[in-house]
């Protein structure tokens, strides 16, 4: 799917670009903050500028799957871009006036995590972790949208309360608590939970397929995400 960024069909190309930007905006922003010690505003400008320039100059379309993972290619492009920006002392105006992704939506966790990164290998691992985070966020959002206004809305609610809320094991509600809260039998809670987890996995893999260029890359990335081959 990522190869669709060079499609002649404008609609297909636009959709592919949108997916890539949505999945990578946050990893790019966080990387610029950590690797280049950029302040928040500068990092936002650089991230926006990077995607704007990448689209304008066709960097994404020049990606060759045979030469490695898309993620690695994108990171190399980013490094070159920021190095050039820093060397020239230039600061782009937020993607030349084009806002690619609403910034406030990317910082929903309020940047509470510290940027404590020591060397290159940690930076790359952090880039991958942020990429996973973006991918799961996209998949959760897609699942939420799919359930809204349907009979599955309650399934998403159960999933949100049990798995999505960031609490430790001791604070997690019991199935019986959720069942009482939502006036459901306990068996329904487990059914909903299982359905939502399966759907989320399927959606993550769907999104992953959209931002990888080959079956081989897709399987490798799935292994790194889940620790096992997708079934």
């Amino acid at each position: 799917m990522v190869l669709a960024v060079r499609s002649r069909d404008e609609q297909e190309r636009a959709r592919a670009l949108e997916t890539v930007v949505a999945a990578y905006w946050r990893p790019v922003y966080r990387h610029v903050r950590a690797r280049w010690r950029a302040r928040e505003e500068e990092a936002e400008d650089l991230a926006q500028g990077f995607f704007a320039t990448a689209l304008e100059k066709g960097w994404l379309a020049r990606y060759e799957p045979a030469r490695g993972r898309f993620r690695t290619y994108l990171l190399a492009c980013l490094e070159a871009f920021v190095a050039n920006q820093r060397r020239d002392g230039r600061r782009l105006k937020r993607g030349g006036g084009v806002t690619l992704v609403p910034l406030e939506s990317q910082d929903a966790d309020g940047e509470t995590r510290e940027l404590q990164l020591a060397d290159g290998s940690d930076l790359e691992a952090e880039f991958q972790r942020e990429w996973s985070r973006s991918l799961f966020a996209l998949a959760v959002e897609a699942l939420r949208q799919r359930c809204l206004g349907t009979s599955r809305e309650v399934a998403f609610l159960v999933f949100e309360r049990y798995d999505l809320e960031d609490h430790d094991a001791s604070q997690r509600p019991r199935y019986a608590d959720l069942a009482a809260e939502l006036s459901l039998p306990v068996t329904q809670v487990t059914n909903h939970l299982h359905w939502a987890r399966l759907e989320l996995r399927r959606t993550v893999l769907e999104k992953l397929r959209e931002i990888t260029a080959s079956e081989e890359e897709f399987r490798a990335e799935a292994r790194s995400l889940f620790g096992a081959e997708p079934s």
């Binding site: 929903a108 966020a137 999505l164 094991a169």
Partner: protein, 355 residues
């Protein structure tokens, strides 16, 4: 769109692979451990309101042979009712067809973690005695563990010992399953427990087991592994592993009685000269290359260890007259000192009386 925090991200990655427990009495709480054949989860038993450990076949391994193997592991555990063996509560099948079994949730430390906390020697030996007990019990019922190692022994907060992971155990006379683990297969990871590969951990595996000589694998193969655990407890490393420092001694032990250990295994006293010779002899007898030269079972190894702890003569160590006298003196130190004091006093009194 809310971005998940670190904790939520890790949980999402886990739960999207969790098995479907609907229709069972268990609620999954978290993943505890992952092996070649299955994944162990912490789960809540709603009926009995207690936490249990749930072993479920890994998705990737959900085939009939693996299912049969997990059921067999549960049955073997159910037959071995012993305080040193983790009890199985339940076995069943999930809605997606995967087999699972529920067992007691074990808390505590793994033996390898505990030994690194520099326990006194006698404490270590008492721990090994407690490991020998369930193994001897299993041997008496025709079951051989085949993967004993420090990582498979849990020590509870009150010193209780549990021998874990009977996934590759063999029951005497039991029909062989397809892909039955017996010896390392070429190209397979050395300690994988997945279907069709072999098992055991090389440093703790008896030579006949490592060669894949299935017919010769018996209780004495477990004795070898117990000897390897003793070696680890005495020296801090598994037998046969190269020393971390190039200056550390590497000479192969060549004593008069146990020159038959595998080449490359340094004698424990070469790594720590303060270790008692009889204890070293016990360890090396258990590690003998030929099964016939080892203790016949875990009970016999335990008996020799107990004799050592009591200051008695051990079967593995042929001691001379001087050795016997030294051991006798050390064992009866107080009466000997009293007797000596009495003799000295009598001599002094005699001398005084003559003057």
């Amino acid at each position: 769109m809310k971005t998940p925090g670190d904790g939520a991200l890790d949980r999402l990655r886990q739960v999207t692979q969790w098995p479907d427990l609907s229709g069972t009495r268990y609620e999954l709480q978290s993943e505890v451990a992952r092996g070649g054949m299955g994944v162990v989860y912490l789960a809540r038993d709603r009926e009995l309101e207690r936490d249990v450990a749930l072993k479920v076949i890994a998705v990737a391994a959900a085939d009939p042979d693996t299912a049969a193997r997990l059921r067999r592991e549960a049955r073997i555990l159910a037959r071995l009712e012993h305080p040193g063996i983790v009890p199985v509560h339940d076995v069943g099948e999930l809605p997606d067809g995967r087999v699972f079994y529920a067992m007691k949730l074990v808390t505590g430390k793994r033996l390898d973690e505990l030994v690194r906390e520099s326990l006194p020697l006698r404490e270590k030996l008492r721990l090994l005695l407690r490991i020998c007990e369930p193994v001897a019990f299993a041997h008496a019922r025709g079951v051989i563990h085949r993967d004993l190692k420090p990582e498979n022994v849990m020590v509870g907060p009150f010193g209780e010992v549990l021998v874990m992971d009977w996934g590759v155990a063999k029951h005497r006379g039991e029909p062989k399953l397809a892909g039955d683990p017996a010896a390392p297969s070429a190209g397979s990871p050395p300690n994988a427990t997945a279907h069709g590969t072999i098992v055991g951990t090389p440093a703790y595996m008896a030579p006949e087991q490592a060669r894949g000589d299935v017919e010769r694998v018996d209780a004495r193969s477990d004795v070898y592994a117990l000897g390897a655990i003793l070696y680890f407890m005495l020296t801090g490393r598994a037998p046969g592993r190269l020393p971390a420092s190039p200056d550390a001694p590497t000479r192969t032990w060549a004593g008069p009685r146990h020159a038959n250990v595998a080449p490359g295994i340094a004698a424990p006293r070469e790594l720590d000269e303060n270790l008692p010779r009889p204890l070293e002899a016990i360890c090396l007898k258990a590690l003998a290359l030929e099964p016939a030269e080892r203790y016949p079972g875990a009970a016999e190894l335990a008996a020799d260890l107990e004799r050592f702890l009591e200051g008695e003569r051990v079967s593995a160590y042929p001691e001379g007259l001087l050795g016997r006298a030294r051991r006798f003196a050390s064992r009866h130190r107080t009466p000997i000192l009293v007797l000596l004091a009495y003799v000295v006093m009598r001599v002094v009194l005699l001398l005084v009386a003559r003057v």
